[in-house]
Symmetry: C2
Subunit: 279 residues, 2 copies
């Protein structure tokens, strides 16, 4: 059997997947793009040798990155999605009827094109009239924006290396804050608590210099090494732990109970931030 | 770099670890035993090509398998540990001052010996005078026992195939119930919710035929494929969700908050058992 060996950054275990078929192999201006088919996971999108999504389990990541913030907001109308060229987050955002406008800012147009071709169920929202696609650097888009009218900014970047680094700087977080309404929220993945604990802590600390409310929640994701995947969330005043709207959309994993349970417990969060977790 | 490729049963992704050094390679009556050193995880115990523990992260599994039940009980005195030849569960059980007696029932003496040699920090409790080692099949030990005086029965088996199968039968669960006091509890790992959902459900259903109270909790374990590791717990009347004693022992991960959070939310549990989770 042909195998694909993942090269995830900072991961002390390497994942290998059986490859039934190579559906696409190419190179964009930014990265290598690979689409394979695996018997169990279905089609898989791989960028620079790192698995971004599988048909079978993509909803864990996309739902948890999107719906925690969307349900912590009372009436989210204007959203910015940065990265996530596959369209998974945009699809989830558009499930909310309150949403009037989504700026979908992706640096690599090829990822959008390949996803529309191979993952139509994931990129299904990309052509929605509420979506405005911007092919550009997300940091640049946020920094140049002058109005504070965005309800949610969602970062769905690749691993926090290379060109994704610009989305994890003090300057960027300051610009994010400026774009948000007073009730607005920011959310980004921050790798795994198992393998990338220092990075998780660092991003929490950076956000705390900018935002009064900063928190951390997790989701179990089988296809991202470390698996105990962390999401950093920040706001000007509202706690993201509270749901402010009923669940009125269809989801496979997320619900209000999982929303509450996903946040780190008080003591675990404290121990994490005090660097007292010994692993 | 030399690599070890894990052959975990039912796992649709294969884990590969860099091997710095092979410390031991042998074969017992029951299985192949391998001890390697990995730069990140430290020493690793591998049975029949499946990673059982790593020095770095073994506490997640051992604490969560042991302390949920131990804190749901008011005064656990007599404990049976089946499997877990490495001694990790015995070590955790012995942290509780209420414990007077531990029957440590392991089918493969070689695992105990190898663990004492290479993982002294894990097998540290094995020589404690409260521990009685029984080298025999755990199912036989439980079936032959005639008294109902055990406060907790903890199964730390290898994956649910081969000789471990005898610990997951209706007959065995009936015998387990007979051994327990009225307040007693039973706990076993039941693989991962990601990759082994049908097995998780099946064991819940089997336990429900025998026990009035059956529940499910999870822990994030980076080195077991599927990672979202499930534990089935059963009792004659007490709910395992409640802690009945204060945390008075030293732990790296487990605490009362994590105890509560570890259980599946009501709706998720319901959807799981109704086979409505689509993954």
């Amino acid at each position: 059997m042909v195998k694909f060996f993942e090269k995830a950054p900072y991961a002390p275990v390497e994942y290998a997947y059986d490859v039934e078929e190579i559906l696409y192999k190419g190179k964009s201006k930014f990265q290598e793009i690979l689409v394979i088919r695996n018997e169990y996971f279905g089609k898989m999108l791989i960028l620079d040798d790192v698995v971004q999504l599988t048909e079978r389990d993509e909803f864990f990541y996309h739902e948890m990155l999107t719906h925690v913030v969307m349900h912590a907001l009372q009436h989210p109308k204007k959203i910015i999605v940065i990265g996530g060229g596959d369209g998974g987050v945009v699809r989830e955002v558009l499930k909310h009827k309150t949403v009037e406008k989504v700026f979908f800012v992706e640096i690599d147009e090829e990822v959008i094109n390949i996803s529309r071709r191979f993952f139509p169920a994931v990129s299904s929202g990309v052509e929605d009239p509420r979506v405005e696609i911007k092919i550009m650097d997300g940091a640049e888009f946020i920094t140049k924006r002058k109005t504070s009218d965005i309800d949610a900014i969602i970062i769905d970047s690749t691993d926090i290396i290379g060109f994704a680094r610009s989305l994890f700087t003090d300057e960027f977080f300051v610009s994010v804050k400026k774009c948000l309404t007073d009730e607005g929220m920011f959310v980004t993945h921050t790798e795994s608590i198992h393998f990338h604990k220092d990075m998780v802590i660092e991003i929490q600390e950076m956000l705390k210099k900018v935002f009064p409310v900063v928190d951390l929640y997790t989701a179990p994701i089988a296809t991202y090494p470390g698996n105990w995947w962390a999401f950093a969330v920040a706001s000007k005043k509202l706690s993201p732990r509270e749901t402010r709207r009923k669940l009125e959309i269809s989801t496979k994993y997320y619900d209000e109970e999982i929303h509450r349970q996903a946040f780190l417990t008080g003591r675990l969060y404290e121990r994490l931030m005090q660097r007292k977790l010994e692993w």
